[in-house]
Amino acid sequence: MSAMRDRVQRQLEKVSQRTAVAKATRHHYHTRRKQWAKMAEDGRLQSLRDWVRDVKNQALNNNDQVLAQFKASLEARGGHVHFAATAEDAVRQVVEIATAHGARLAVKAKSMASEEIHLNPALEKAGIEPVETDLGEYIVQLAGQPPVHIVGPALHMTRYDVAELFEEKLGEPMSTDPEALTAVARRVLREKFLQADIGITGGNAGIAETGTVVLFTNEGNGRMVTSLPRVMVTVIGLEKMVATWADFEPILTLLPRSATGQNSTVYVSAITGPRRPGEIDGPEELHVIVLDAGRSKLLGTKYQDALRCFRCGACLNCCPVFRQLGGHAYGTTYGGPIGVTITPLMKGFMEHADLLDACSLCGACTEACAVQVPLHHFIRDQKEERAQSAYTSGMERFLFRAWSWAWSSPGRYRLVARLAKWLSRPFTKNGYLTWHPGPLGAWGAGREFPAPAARSLRDRWEELEREVNP
């Protein structure tokens, strides 16, 4: 059994989580659709999607120049830019910066990049306490879990789960009121913000023209992390860069409308370098770590378009597989269609090829993708590559070749159909199979498989044709 199947099996048993995931994804799906309908009515949905596609394509096609410009612009404003080829490099750089400042406490704004590089365990090992400050991230951090969704890290948990968690970990009196739970987080995290030595963020976009990092948040934690600590470190994927502020406009407009369906997130913070003379807050020292970690492997290939993704999560919310399972079943930082698409390409094909099974190629994701990544085509293409690689067993390849041979000639097809009818006869009851051999076993565990008809369509065709064309 593959690791993916194993995780799916475990996830299927978590009924409360699955219900919560289904409810939350449905909610996000409908809010996004409503907002998109409004934009379509205003006649600007498609032009915005095209606009983002074009600015991101341009930045990806000229990635070297865009990154060089970002570095030059930020350094001219007194910031520091580091390139990290691997996750390990990025982790080492963050830990080095933090230890050089003698940091003991790091407050973090929600960052999938820092999840991807597994930053928190490394900080802990270096004696630095990392505290997640987005409410959802804080909840999953307390629970010792990875985020379940790139936009809603804790959407698999109910208020009762959170209440129990806060009681157990924070010693708070039990309350299941989301407002009271939020107030607890505000109080606990406010202290952390004021004490932290270092603030760590991700970045929703980078603007090369001025060396700017942009964060979209609703709670204000992104602002706290970038305003209060003396040192700020941003870990941002190289694909998040755009060339200019003009290129940023369609992202400002489309990202929140596709993620949570808001016209704008409550806060959009664009940070350009450390604080300047005469300013009394903002970081005194600012570092941006531009993360590759497999991304550049996609540059210049047909899969480059997948790097346009700005992580709105729309493909997760519409995916029939994700909606059943939630992100934990994928066992990777990025779940859902975008995770299935990029993880094997970025992190090693053979190791992650089993993710491709978490897709039925229904195409809902491609339709929902704000930046028009042909997600299910990319998954299909990788399934094809997988079938032609050593990943697929000789037996499976033989069976499919035999099936293809049998079904590609009318005579052989008829023979196989007749054989199936005779062979299934002893195991047929009320028109359904009572025994599901081989690959039908899992399928038949929860469903009935209809037995071959006593008379096939082909056998009945002569009389049917008379009925249709009397």
């Binding site: 939350a24 502020w245 300047r276 807050d281």
Partner: protein, 188 residues
């Protein structure tokens, strides 16, 4: 300035449970701020050291009304100012731009305009001049593009659209997470 734009701004802010007070004179603006402070029994305020706020005589009027008004002047002690901001009942700022379409305020950081004023206190009051009200996000982006072209992009641009909120627990909307739970806009 068309009234239509103001109506649109007001409607957008209403969706964000953010009241808009439109005033005709500096005196009215001062009265609106003092009224909001008084109703919430706010006795300590941290504020931008902003020429606009000084010009309408807000700091003096507030002090006269018994409110401790701490202006974030560039020579203020950072540690002390932060302690004040963390304690204050309200933060008062100007706004460099506002966007009618989305109810957004754009605050550019700079000397006398620190970020914490609109962030740490539970109530944020922003005084915006009417000529700074833009129609939509596209118009705002034009301003940001212009700043970049002039090499004047500030160290931080904060776009603020309503009070701090979350929906991370069962997608139930809760306000006042880390930032202010209340936002009040005064259009002058």
């Amino acid at each position: 300035m068309s009234d239509l734009l103001i109506q649109q701004f007001e409607a957008a802010l209403k969706d964000l449970v953010t009241p808009l007070v439109t005033v005709e004179s500096p005196a009215e603006a001062v009265a609106a701020v003092l009224d909001a402070l008084h109703r919430r029994e706010v006795t300590e305020v941290v504020a931008w050291a902003d020429p606009l706020l000084d010009a309408i005589g807000l700091p003096g009027a507030a002090r006269q009304a018994g409110v401790a008004w701490v202006a974030a002047t560039p020579d203020a002690d950072p540690t002390e100012l932060r302690a004040t901001a963390a304690r204050a009942g309200a933060g008062v700022t100007g706004a460099d731009f506002a966007v009618a379409e989305t109810g957004t305020l754009a605050l550019l950081s700079g000397p006398g305009k620190p970020r914490m004023v609109s962030l740490l206190p539970p109530l944020h009051i922003a005084v915006v001049r009417r000529e700074r009200l833009l129609a939509n996000q596209a118009a705002l982006c034009k301003e940001l593009v212009r700043l970049a072209a002039a090499g004047e992009t500030p160290s931080s641009v904060n776009l603020i659209t309503g009070p701090s909120r979350t929906a991370d627990i069962e997608h139930i909307l809760v306000r006042k997470v880390h930032g202010p739970g209340e936002l009040l806009v005064i259009l002058m």
